[in-house]
């Protein structure tokens, strides 16, 4: 019997509705796909422009389970075979960029065993710490979306000065030159700006699944510890996103709560829906876990302020 060996852990428990019942003395297979942000920490915290980035993954040797687990295995894929260390709970085996843990037998409910893996990673550790979206429904047949981002590079911070000359010679450390957003396929009038003004280093193309791929290059390459603040915007045809019930004359807006930023974590999102002047009887978005409030705002053509 394996006991837990670490006390610094907490779990969140979810109740799953199984759709159809599972009768007594029978089994059901469930697949759980979970994505975690902030699961890595850079080690060392600082690197020079010529050094490679190393990170530590913090997790558990055991799968998270509210029930006792008879037998379990874990297969871990790392970006490269350069794994400096891994906390051991035997059996552990490694081959190239793959590490296998277990099988572990008879792990108690909420079993936890601290797992730390130290390895090289050139992944882009980008985090949107704040995102503000403004969705303005216009009388003129369009829905104008503007998104304000504060984007951080949370990898190892740059130690020493940045050398443009070295950078031009390919010494790029953990710098990030560009990142990508995916916009709705009918987005038009796309722009990319910051406090200085328009940023011209962007590129727009269409994907196979009819989305708009919006590649953005900030004014400067981003090294660890750096951040950039910018905003983007585009127009959508109201006819595709706004529907009306003829009987009640009530309009319904249906739009993505957040756009796909690739593998970038958004930590805080605020969305403002700016409705046309005179809009009344506004119902909150039907999604649990969201807080909402109503305010008045003066738009360009408002007389009394739109709600």
């Amino acid at each position: 019997m394996i006991d837990d060996d670490d006390s610094a852990s907490s779990f969140k428990i979810y109740t799953v509705r199984l759709k159809t019942t599972v009768s007594a003395n029978s089994s059901v297979s469930l697949k759980v796909h979970a994505v975690y942000g902030r699961a890595f920490s850079p080690k060392p915290d600082e690197i020079t422009q010529s050094q490679r980035q190393l990170v530590v993954y913090h997790g558990s040797h055991f799968v998270a389970s509210p029930y006792k687990v008879d037998s379990q295995t874990t297969k871990i894929k790392t970006p490269s075979s350069n794994v400096l260390s891994i906390s051991q709970r035997k059996p552990v085996s490694r081959s190239g960029d793959t590490t296998e843990l277990g099988p572990y037998k008879n792990v108690q409910a909420f079993g936890f065993s601290s797992l730390q893996m130290h390895f090289e990673s050139s992944a882009a550790f980008l985090v949107v710490s704040e995102q503000l979206r403004e969705v303005e429904i216009s009388h003129w047949g369009n829905v104008a979306v503007e998104e304000h981002y504060t984007l951080h590079h949370t990898g190892s911070a740059l130690k020493g000065a940045f050398s443009r000359l070295d950078y031009m010679h390919g010494v790029r450390g953990n710098s990030i030159e560009e990142f990508t957003q995916f916009l709705p396929g009918d987005a038009i009038d796309i722009y990319y700006r910051d406090v200085i003004g328009n940023i011209s280093t962007s590129h727009v193309s269409r994907t196979d699944d009819n989305r708009v791929k919006f590649e953005l290059k900030p004014r400067f390459v981003m090294f660890g510890g750096w951040k950039t603040v910018y905003y983007t915007g585009y127009n959508l045809p109201a006819s595709r996103y706004l529907s009306v019930d003829d009987a009640s004359s009530r309009y319904t807006l249906s739009i993505n709560l957040i756009n796909d930023l690739g593998e970038v974590l958004t930590e805080q999102l605020e969305t403002r829906f700016i409705l046309p002047e005179g809009a009344t009887y506004v119902l909150p978005p039907p999604r649990s876990g969201l807080t909402h409030s109503l305010t008045n705002s003066l738009a360009r053509s408002s007389c009394a302020g739109a709600q």
Binding site: S9, T21, A24, Y36, Y67, D70, S71, P286
Partner: protein, 113 residues
């Protein structure tokens, strides 16, 4: 009489515990650490060892940094509702309002009227 009553209560409790008995026979996890997000896919085989059918089960996720969660059965997505926190030492706290970080993975459609 008191002894009989106590025995009946104990028997009922035993039935109740048995009726909700779920065991995990096996768990196979794949953990991808190749990007800035840790992606975990685990296939569980849950066994209902109780005496009656079950329509719900529980899953657990580790820590505070969950960004995205999908539970499926036979390829079809199931409804998973946050229930509570559980600390490692066995103490269960009343859950505060949960709001996991919105993650850009996938799309989330929002409607208002």
């Amino acid at each position: 009489m008191q002894v009989v009553r106590v025995l009946c209560i104990v028997a009922l409790l035993a039935v109740a515990v048995t009726a909700s008995g779920i065991e995990v026979r096996s768990a196979s996890r794949t953990l991808s650490l190749t990007s800035s997000l840790a992606k975990e896919t685990t296939e569980f085989v849950y066994h209902n060892s109780g005496s009656s059918s079950i329509s719900t089960a529980e899953i657990a996720v580790l820590g505070e940094n969950l960004a995205y969660l999908v539970v499926s059965r036979d390829g079809k997505e199931l409804v998973a509702t946050y229930a509570r926190d559980h600390m490692h030492n066995g103490v269960t706290y009343v859950a505060r309002t949960h709001s996991s970080s919105p993650c850009s993975l996938g799309t989330h459609t929002q409607s208002t009227n």
